[in-house]
Symmetry: C2
Subunit: 249 residues, 2 copies
């Protein structure tokens, strides 16, 4: 199995490349439109063909590259069936393994950051999206987020995985790349140890985070599998600017 952890610095997003070295088929989990050409070049450099993009949820901080990658290289789009997006080729559901040749993802419905959020378990790794971050978690105050639901998703579903399972989050803001279930159970300050639901709800209610600066264009764009608004304000344009340099853009 080929595995690469790619980073998009504007939204601090990790994109994961998984490839079957026998058949040459690959998938990308949570690709970002701003780095789509770099990521496609990496797929190509490894001698792979992109079969699918897979999103963990409808992102509010960046635009997914799913649609533009489909237009550019013909990859198909997988995303949670929960969100009923008409642009999706394969609707992810818990109980149905998502399989591309030797690449196998077991979907885990992990609501709380968004109601349709999924994590994916694959060969000793869990791609946790925004449900569980290293020493943290995604916010719960938008997109039908719920601290109650996130506590249950993490404590009951993710923390029941084997201790050695590697945690690969969708974001990190401090140059951390990987953790493990044992580590998050031991020291996640929001959700680890003997942290109670009431304590977690108090933490999440007290974050005083600003209104997400990209949500108003990112969510509608991602409900179309990744469309950049035509007339972005200049301070937001960097998020889609690479697209304008593309012959496909």
């Amino acid at each position: 199995m080929i595995f690469r952890q790619l980073y998009e610095p504007l939204s601090s997003t990790y994109t994961y490349l998984l490839g079957d070295e026998d058949t040459g088929q690959a998938i990308l989990i949570d690709p970002v439109i701003a780095t789509m050409h770099r990521d496609l070049a990496e797929v190509h450099r490894l001698g792979l063909t992109l079969a699918y993009t897979v999103d963990t949820h409808i992102h509010a901080d960046h635009v997914t590259a799913a649609l533009e990658m489909k237009r550019t290289v013909g990859s198909k789009i997988a995303a949670p069936a929960w969100d009923r997006l008409p642009c999706v080729d394969f609707g992810i559901e818990e109980g149905t393994t998502f399989q591309v040749d030797g690449i196998s993802l077991r979907p885990l419905h992990t609501p709380g950051h968004t109601d349709g959020h999924f994590a994916f378990l694959s060969a000793g790794r869990v791609f946790t999206g925004d449900a569980l971050l290293i020493d943290g978690c995604g916010r719960t105050d938008f997109q039908n987020g719920s601290a109650d639901a996130l506590y249950k998703s993490v404590r009951e579903k993710l923390f029941s995985l084997p201790d050695e399972t590697l945690v690969y989050p969708a974001h990190d803001y401090k140059e951390r790349f990987v953790s493990s279930i044992a580590q998050e159970k031991a020291r996640n300050p929001r959700l680890g140890g003997d942290r109670t639901l009431d304590e977690f709800k108090t933490i999440m209610a007290s974050l005083n985070l600003p209104y997400p600066k990209f949500i108003d264009y990112a969510v509608p764009g991602n409900r179309q599998c990744g469309v950049c608004p035509p007339n972005l304000p200049e301070n937001l344009a960097q998020y889609c600017q690479q697209m304008s340099a593309s012959p496909q853009g």
Copy 2:
């Protein structure tokens, strides 16, 4: 491949269990005498037979379980050939893969913490011993330690491994379990980023660490592959006390 990350809390040591699920053979990297019965029980519980113990170096903070495990279950002892210990069955050398059925360790001579220190590369993981810790490194002021040598070992040898290689250290004191080469290159405060050799030497010379409290019995004991002194002071006895409860002790 079976993989378990075990923890010995008195010396904050990680012991790593690797098992070949097809043949049932297993090895333990850096087993600690205080937790030997727990670790042997885990090997047994997984249906495995302990073929070898493997030490990364001559430890100063705990007594290796190598000799007592050999006496108890007949496992053989692997350790760096550099140290010329007569009790060792297999002398680890760079350039010669250490192989037990499907378990393969590529030894990397990584002096600096001790002069005979080895790391082991195995299937996308590197067991870094005390050469490279998460956000840190081992001290360099005893056992022919050398900040010059450690800088070179980490920056030239370990940091040249692929970014996604998982870093499994011999110790952690803050409940962190795993890192990656990319992460340590990016944010290790002693050895990452653009840290120079001179800066690293200044850091290591300024640590003002106390004299290691166990070194005077641990090193002689470990030069015999793990012998507890017969008349330990009471404050040190916890390190070997489990042995006295053993029929083999």
